[in-house]
């Protein structure tokens, strides 16, 4: 349960950072928090207390005690995607800084209406 709360808290903090913070880097951190929160959520869904890796190894492990493998696979994919997204975002920040000379999102709003 604590994992779920933690995950949603992370997501909420991330959203808060994106909405309130003016600094582009902080917005990036917010994005990453959302991604981490989501990943945590996924993993905790498949988690079984005291469970082990879902590998048929020596010793008799009940299938019930295995952790669901699918969410872990999903998480790996999601982490990769999140990382590439963040890299792209960082690249945009660099370009924006070159053009505007600032990281303040308030000043970067030439496109509107």
């Amino acid at each position: 349960m604590i994992y779920y709360i933690g995950a949603f808290l992370l997501i909420a903090i991330g959203l808060y950072a994106i909405i309130i913070k003016k600094n582009l880097i902080k917005i990036l951190i917010g994005l990453d928090l959302i991604a981490s929160g989501t990943n945590l959520l996924i993993v905790s869904i498949g988690y079984v207390k005291g469970g082990t890796a879902p590998i048929f190894s020596k010793g008799n492990i009940l299938a019930k005690m295995m952790v669901d493998p699918v969410p872990q696979a999903l998480t790996l994919t999601a982490i990769v995607i999140g990382a590439s997204e963040l890299a792209l975002a960082a690249a945009f920040v660099v370009i924006l800084y070159r053009h505007y000379g600032t990281l303040d999102i308030k000043k970067i709003r030439s496109l509107k209406w």
Partner: protein
């Protein structure tokens, strides 16, 4: 036989495409195709004279069949469409020669003709609506070729047309939702079984679409601009034919889909006419009077004719909405007549513009000597329009008056008379300012228009006489049409209406004979009496003042200023201003609406959070907002 309807409809479209392609080779190839195919369409029309061909299925869509048909009523309008279009193309050849984009112009001209033909031939509402929209946007491209001002005029035209068309669209969709078939027969069957509220909605929504095209006040505001700013040869097409499509639609709506009895049942009334039709009659009568007043005040000859068109289409609608056999016949006959004489007048003024380059009446004058053919055309046109025997306008107006009298609708009768009297005022002004009076110095060398432009004037002038002296020619078709609509037609003869029928006796041949005899007598007197002495325009005595060629002797600007002073207060509130205010208000509102796109990333992100909350909440309460 069935297939031939498709051929008829395809003729102008094929002609348009061929003319467009031919124009790339040589301009005469273009003209040959344009003339040939419009003439072909006109000839093909005669194969359908007095026939009723129903239900040529040309397609299927959404479970409804698309049908072409022809009946005597649509024949009248198809006749107008093809005939006038042919003359317009003849007239165009010299008039717009040398302009840019001529291939496109002829393409559009023939497409407008085809679209209007399609409207008259449509046998179901989808076909009808499709060609209706096609007509709107193709004619829009014709209108905006008339120069700078025409772009604004065309914009107004297309916007109002689209509003009207969409209103009609809603009506059609309402029917489709119930009947799942839009063939005219099924529509009328459905409407006869539906609740009054449904029928009234259908009537109003469909009617608005037709009123916009027929330019019935207060939905007329596009017409004066569009008709006056359009290229000269297009104006006859617009005034003579395009607005008649509204009249055709009204006939179909009132007596094809509905009937007098059915409309009468919708809203009980003690009036001589069913209530809804009575309202339409009043709108038409108001159009007649106000448009006449406005026409009187115009300085621009084409604008004058445009307002006159609103007024005259008012007679058509008044007649059609009357519900009696005589009134409908009068309305339809007037539609035909108006197509003839209004096109004639627009051709004449088109010729004048072609030669002088202006349509401002105060700058013109005395062109009678220079352009005698145009003058004769104008004379025939105005005599016919003002309803003086022996030309065609007389008979149809007479029929409308008589029908009003029979119904004892005295107020409407008075308004119709006012419109007719007013017509004398503005028409006199028209012919006086353009052809009579003093010839301005700069137009000394003006010549008569070339032969191809004279030809439409000759033909239409002849037609005003033909239909004036032999109204039976037109009544033949109209009576067939009324029979088709299930209305007992009135009795008629070739020369008029016999004694003891729904109409009091009228023999145009007698009236005409009297008039011709009178004319001969006057002519004889004129020839016998001593000759007057002609002097030059500048050989005048001016009480010591030096008369230069530029001096004006007669009024031409503000001709009816005294009259304007009296009636101007009526026009303090114009429908046009109201629409513009609406448009502005919408624009301001829209401008505020788009401010949601603030350009702030944080705003956008908060939208996401807000939205997800709202979605979750709405789902929580069961997803039912209503």
């Amino acid at each position: 036989m069935d297939m031939s309807l498709g051929v008829l409809l395809a003729t102008p479209f094929v002609g348009g495409i061929l003319a467009y392609l031919g124009g790339k080779i040589h301009r005469w190839v273009r003209y040959t195709f344009a003339i040939l195919f419009s003439l072909l369409a006109f000839i093909e029309i005669f194969f359908f004279y007095n026939t009723t061909v129903g239900n040529y299925v040309w397609g299927r869509l959404f479970g409804s069949v698309l049908v072409l048909q022809i009946n005597p009523i649509s024949w009248i309008f198809a006749f107008i469409v093809t005939g006038i279009s042919f003359l317009v193309i003849l007239f165009s050849i010299n008039d717009v020669e040398g302009h840019k984009g001529l291939d496109f112009y002829y393409l559009e001209l023939l497409f407008v003709e085809g679209a209007m033909l399609g409207i008259t031939l449509a046998g179901d509402l989808i076909t009808f609506f499709m060609f209706w929209e096609l007509m709107s946007w193709t004619s829009y491209f014709l209108i905006i070729q008339g120069g700078k001002k025409s772009i604004t005029a065309g914009y107004k035209y297309i916007i109002m047309s689209v509003i009207g068309a969409y209103s009609m669209f809603v009506a059609i969709a309402m029917v489709f939702g119930r009947a799942h078939s839009l063939v005219f027969k099924n529509v009328s069957m459905l409407l006869s079984q539906s609740s009054p509220a449904f029928v009234i909605w259908f009537f109003v929504l469909f009617g608005i679409g037709l009123f916009v095209k027929a330019a019935v006040m207060p939905l007329h505001t596009w017409l004066p601009d569009a008709h006056s700013e359009a290229p000269s040869p297009v104006s006859p097409l617009l005034s003579g034919v395009l607005i008649k499509m509204g009249a055709y639609g009204l006939t179909v709506l009132f007596y094809g889909f509905l009937s007098v009895q059915l409309i009468g049942k919708l809203a009980p009334t003690i009036l001589p006419t069913p209530l809804l039709l009575y309202i339409v009659e009043w709108l038409a009568a108001i159009s007649i009077v106000l448009a006449t007043f406005l026409a009187i005040l115009q300085e621009d000859a084409k604008r004058l004719l445009a307002y006159s068109s609103i007024s005259q289409i008012g007679y058509v609608v008044l007649g059609i909405a009357m519900g009696s056999s005589l009134g409908i016949a009068g309305g339809l006959f007037h539609a035909l007549n108006h197509a003839i004489f209004k096109s004639l007048l627009f051709f004449v003024i088109g010729g004048v513009i072609y030669r002088t380059g202006t349509r401002n009446m105060s700058e013109l004058g005395g062109l009678i000597k220079k352009m005698p053919v145009s003058f004769i055309g104008a004379l025939f046109g105005i005599v016919a329009l003002s309803g003086v025997p022996p030309l065609n306008g007389f008979v149809s107006k007479w029929m409308i008056y008589e029908a009003l009298l029979q119904k004892k609708e005295v107020f409407l009768l008075i308004m119709a008379f006012v419109g007719s009297t007013g017509a004398f005022l503005y028409l006199y002004r028209f012919i006086h300012s353009v052809f009579l009076g003093q010839l301005p110095e700069k137009y000394k060398d003006v010549k008569e228009v070339p032969f191809l432009m004279q030809l439409p004037i000759w033909i239409l002038s002849a037609l005003t006489i033909v239909f004036g002296i032999w109204p039976g020619l037109a009544m033949n078709v109209i009576a067939q049409g009324e029979k088709f609509l299930g209305i007992t037609p009135i009795k008629y003869t070739l020369y008029g209406f016999p004694q003891g029928t729904a109409m009091s006796s009228l023999k145009v041949i007698n009236i005409s004979s009297v008039l011709i005899i009178a004319f001969i007598v006057v002519l004889a007197l004129y020839l016998m009496l001593p000759k007057e002495r002609f002097v030059s325009q500048y050989d005048t005595y001016a009480a010591g003042q030096v008369v230069t060629p530029e001096t004006k002797y007669n009024y031409s600007y503000g001709f009816y200023m005294f009259f304007g002073r009296v009636i101007n207060p009526i026009f303090k509130w114009s429908a046009d201003k109201m629409y513009e205010a609406w448009a502005r208000a919408t624009k301001v509102f829209g401008d505020y609406m788009r401010r949601v796109y603030t350009g702030n990333l944080e705003t956008y992100s908060s939208y996401i959070v807000v939205l997800i909350t709202i979605v979750a909440f709405v789902l929580l309460i069961g997803g039912k907002l209503w």
